[in-house]
Symmetry: C2
Subunit: 380 residues, 2 copies
């Protein structure tokens, strides 16, 4: 009997209550009973994003929102700055280039955070930059960029946007969109929202809305102005993913009204901290020790251990699915999720499984030490 | 966000697949599509009970089957011997007395196993005893009685029945009904069967079927001869719990065809052993150290700790529901389940929670030691 347990930084497990909500009979999205569901999602998302600005909803993955955040804000030959410190930083660049946007990069060593001074220098050298694209939490490296400081630099002078891929940051740690002056913040359902994939969310500031008026990049499905126009009537232009929204309303209620956002942040950070310490207790190194995101922990596969074999053992022998590295980190790290529907006992179990799998593939250590460490740190 | 986790020795968690099977549209129990479901249950139960004899199914709790095992086998003023070493041994006596059966008791210290020599002596002193009632696994004390040896004593001479409450033994450890010559073996759905409560099962040997012919105790709902007559046509006399049977067919398929009964026994014993060692590692005593049942582990509440407060903390602060002691053991022990749908990571989590709760209520120990011990013992 092998129980399957999912520990990837998205998708994450979905609470039974949310699954049961989504299993309800489908309703029509133009009928009256849909409106309160949509309204609950719309208002709940504003609380999650900590913004008074509208938060748009799309039937799309997070990448759809990233696409929209280029095609709706810039014109071909506009100049963008991309912070590239991982797979998702690279994706910002690919999208900008796909739309013919002139793109300047700040390349950050994978696992490190960008230095805001480098952003300031790039902006000084390229005063025509209209938007700066970065990740809050770079999921591929488990590093966290200093979004607040970058936003300050971006807005110090000039009329520019700071566009934040916060797919694994919203609901994970404190990232107040309005307080920090973030122009666009985006996320996806299969992360801290404890939902299946299928929904992308996008908060857009007034400044971002102004940029939309001049943007000339081609777009149709992702038309932010069109969506902004219908949003107040609790509608989307195209068919929404109805049952996902029913589930989202339930999930938002759990996060915002029952646990409370601050408690969610504290829980996630506590799990991340205990996991980092537990891995250290058995001699494992982290990829991003200096700027760790609490969304997930990227652990270096130790010398002499085969990364794919380790993950296969974890999955097939112990039932735990953790994430591989992406891009150049493939096979070199494994990533344990903390964001979403995980509690301390889930995390202790995962750490025990990692210890067992490491032992199975020949990594010599005192089996149980990591689990002991996590248990000690996760008590009240 | 408090995840609720159930660790009582019945009910136990129900696998998603079984829950989804039970959520299917209801079918009528006299219609053709019900017959293969019932047949799968009937045949699967024979494999679970390790018997060629019929295994009857009732819409009832396990106590219903206990009732039937008195009222259908004996007459008022018949003489029965009851092994009484816990709450469920007491129940055998209560049922016998309710039907006017003359009852002789062997009182066993709670937490200990009966000595087969005492059974032999009682039978010698009371040659008119027609049936011996005992538990295989006395759930209230987590002790295991030597059923095989008792059955040998019972059948050494005379025409007597050995009737085994195996509610927390079938599917928990090896208890071959036919090989050991057990006349009646009974169990319930909410135990090793990983099902909700609501179904009782009862294997009846040829000798037991012969006893039924002379039994004069009153009974109506539980009429074993009536049920035996309709069983081969895959029916029950009264309305069966249709969707529970649909779930049972799925659960039996998981146990028998996917995990395999031997592997189920090995898993359960491994969890029980690791739990006993883990509790010992932090200085806790067991109630039944000499004859522990792998169904659950009964842990003594340590000196200076309030039992109810400990269980309340475990439940309200950490989300784990473990069982209290019953009867005279109320508040003095807590019981952690191993039978049913539990794996090693469930058990490690529960042990971590017990450590944390003990620490929360003031029991001083090296937090993490029990969890470390279990992790070490539960690796492959």
């Amino acid at each position: 009997m092998l129980k399957r347990r999912l520990f990837t930084p998205g998708p994450v497990p979905v609470p039974d209550r949310v699954r049961l909500a989504m299993a309800q009979p489908i309703i029509n999205h133009r009928a009256a009973d849909f409106l309160p569901v949509f309204r609950a999602c719309r208002e709940g998302l504003q609380r999650m994003f900590q913004t008074e600005s509208p938060v748009l909803l799309f039937a799309a993955s997070g990448t759809g929102a990233m696409d929209a955040a280029v095609s709706n804000l810039l014109s071909p030959d506009d100049h963008a700055l991309v912070i590239r410190g991982g797979k998702f930083g690279e994706r910002w660049g690919e999208i900008c280039e796909a739309y013919g946007v002139r793109t300047t990069y700040i390349d950050v060593e994978w696992g490190k955070a960008v230095d805001p001074a480098d952003v300031a220098a790039a902006l000084e050298a390229n005063p025509d930059i209209r938007a700066v694209y970065l990740q809050a939490s770079e999921t591929s490296t488990a590093a966290r960029h200093p979004v607040r400081e970058v936003a300050e630099v971006v807005h110090r002078d000039g009329d520019r946007l700071v566009v934040v891929d916060a797919i694994t940051a919203v609901g994970v740690y404190d990232l107040p969109m309005d307080d920090w002056g973030l122009d666009v913040v985006l996320s996806g359902s299969q992360k801290a929202f404890m939902m299946p994939p299928g929904l992308a969310f996008m908060g857009v500031s007034e400044r971002a809305q102004r940029f939309m008026q001049d943007a000339k990049c081609g777009h149709y499905y992702f038309d932010l102005e069109k969506e902004l126009a219908v949003l107040p009537s609790d509608q989307t232009s195209w068919t929404p993913a109805v049952n996902l929204l029913v589930g989202l309303a339930e999930a938002l209620s759990i996060i915002l009204d029952e646990e409370g956002l601050e408690a969610t942040f504290a829980r996630t950070e506590k799990l991340a901290h205990a996991t980092r310490e537990a891995m250290g207790a058995i001699g494992l190194d982290l990829l991003a020790p200096d700027a760790p995101s609490p969304a997930c922990t990227a652990v270096m596969v130790p010398e002499g251990v085969d990364g794919p074999a380790l993950r296969k053992t974890l999955r097939d022998q112990y039932g735990y699915t953790v994430a591989d590295g992406q891009g150049r980190l493939k096979g070199k790290i494994f990533r344990i999720a903390h964001l979403g529907y995980f509690d301390r006992f889930d995390t202790i179990g995962c750490i025990a499984a990692v210890e067992m799998a490491l032992s199975s593939v020949g990594y010599v250590h005192e089996v149980g030490e990591a689990t002991r460490t996590a248990t000690l740190l996760l008590r009240d």
